[in-house]
Subunit: 334 residues, 2 copies
């Protein structure tokens, strides 16, 4: 089990680095203690989509305030490294050992006192043999390995499921991402749930209607494909088989059910067996609950790791490796 | 082969009834000649979605103008008969002989001099065993039977494909709709093509990029499901495998490819064989071309009937039957 080695030698309880999760809609910075725990957190809604490339430095500077000191290197993961982000950082090619991403950090040239690095995303091939990409999830996957190791489960090879706007399904062997596939599950649901003939005039609710969701998952197991099953949300409502307050969660069940079914189907093609370990879901609690329900309809167990925790653990691992292996990072090194 | 019998006896070239196709976005009225041909056409953009239930009569009255005479019965098909339309007309249950819809016309009470009828939609069960509905397509299907009969092909049983916002796939045996399934193909594509991360910043074009479309169809045949294949439009663009002007048609190929594949898959489950007749596509020319391409990737031939012509032929058949079988329609009869 790898222990966390503080990046800078300092007294107990003193901060040693800053972990930044900078996605499309949010920016979260964590002041990390030398024992690998969060000492303080600062959030902003200045996500990547809201910013021009010249604005990132000042936004980060404003958020960090008194954390801006030379002894606190900043490690950033997420869409901040994408085209349209602070700096486009080239993808690293799979298969790659996640820990080795520490050798491919992109060190930015900034006017900040801190050193600032962006973790590169991954580029690989998915279950269909098509090129696929991720940015941010690679750090969460490394964090998940850290979490498993901490529990003495480093030898397990679960399927990793990272639900969200774009859901990632990944397989890792001996610390290497061997294959991953992205599904547009969350964005597709959002488009249809925000504005479509399927939900026209129907009430919204923040609470999961589990029965309705399960009906949708059941529909996803029938013949005919998702395009037909999605329409059944409307036709079954019009025909009185679904109540007005069931349609949206039914729709969610159809979409997530298909994501789970299609992925399992494809993984059987690739690996010739369904995994025995529980599927490890890394995401928000609400979304993970839905994936757990859909997986259980296929007799699969799952466990949950919060996306935030996974990101922080991943950045901690990279900071750790970085401190051990490279005292003099080169600007722009890939 | 059924001949067209004019609804009212009149001199050659004289109009005998008015066919109205009133959908969600458009209203089209056709003055029909006694030989079953169009004598004149009047269009409006006052589709069902733009109108309150009290407005339909005046909108129709304004459009028809001098066609408002007692000797020209009006037959209307489409969403005009839906909830939110002029009058909600109950669905007829499948299996039903399409010609028999003439006995279930809904005669409106209006202040117009003409008699005005709405053709009821159908309610049935699709390939997944889920309830399904159609409104407007039943009339086009009857029109397609008329078209086949006219060519001496009344004994053929093709699969009918009616692409659009909601694509209908139907099977007809001895004039009866035995089964039909709706896919949300068109609406799903529109949502993703109008605004999604898949097409962000990419150019639009009105011309079909056939190569890009075929690449999408090919992707739809791989493992992993549509949710994954949709994302590949982005990842393959980001990785340089698709050009900026290919992404949208690639996306279209993925969606239509899945509609075709999933339906064929499901029909094999149900009928244990793929049809030998060409698939009969009823729709717009542009959309039908795409479906024909996707079908040909599965070694299936297809033929094309314009949606407009199908609607008019269907309404002609109903007007014809109505004239023969019922001289005194009852208001509101179902």
């Amino acid at each position: 089990m790898t222990q966390f080695n503080p990046v800078s030698q300092s007294a107990g309880g003193q901060a040693s680095f800053i972990a930044v999760d900078w996605g499309t809609t949010n920016l979260r910075a964590f002041l990390m203690n030398q024992d690998g725990h969060i000492q303080a957190q600062r959030d902003s809604d200045r996500g990547m989509l809201k910013l021009g490339s010249a604005e990132f430095e000042s936004v980060l500077s404003d958020l960090l305030g008194d954390w801006l000191t030379p002894d606190l290197p900043i490690y950033m993961a997420g869409m901040v490294g994408s085209r349209g982000g602070w700096q486009e950082v080239p993808y690293q090619q799979c298969p790659i050992k996640l820990e080795d991403l520490s050798e491919h950090l992109f060190w930015l040239t900034t006017s900040l006192p801190n050193k600032v690095a962006i973790v590169p995303g991954l580029r690989g091939t998915g279950v269909a043999g098509l090129l696929d990409v991720m940015r941010g999830e690679e750090t969460q996957l490394l964090g998940a390995l850290d979490w498993l190791e901490e529990q003495g489960r480093a030898d397990e090879s679960p399927i990793f499921c990272l639900p969200g706007t774009h859901c990632k399904w990944a397989q890792i062997t001996e610390g290497k991402v061997t294959q991953f596939s992205t599904s547009i599950t969350g964005e597709l649901f959002a488009r249809l749930n925000d504005e479509s003939s399927l939900v026209k005039g129907l009430p919204k609710s923040n609470q999961l209607n589990e029965d309705a969701f399960k009906k949708g998952v059941q529909a996803s197991l029938q013949a005919g494909g998702i395009l037909h099953h999605l329409f059944s949300a409307r036709s079954r409502f019009v025909c009185g088989e679904l109540a007005a307050d069931e349609v949206r969660d039914y729709l969610s069940g159809v979409v997530i059910g298909h994501d789970v079914n299609d992925t399992l189907e494809a993984l059987k093609v690739v690996s010739l067996e369904v995994p025995k370990s529980p599927v490890l879901i890394i995401g928000s609690e609400a979304l993970s609950e839905r994936y757990a329900l859909a997986l259980s309809s296929r007799d699969l167990t799952s466990e949950f790791l919060a996306a935030n925790e996974a990101s922080i653990r991943g950045l901690k691992r990279l900071a750790n490796r970085q401190a051990v292996s490279a005292n003099n990072p080169t600007t722009g090194a890939l």
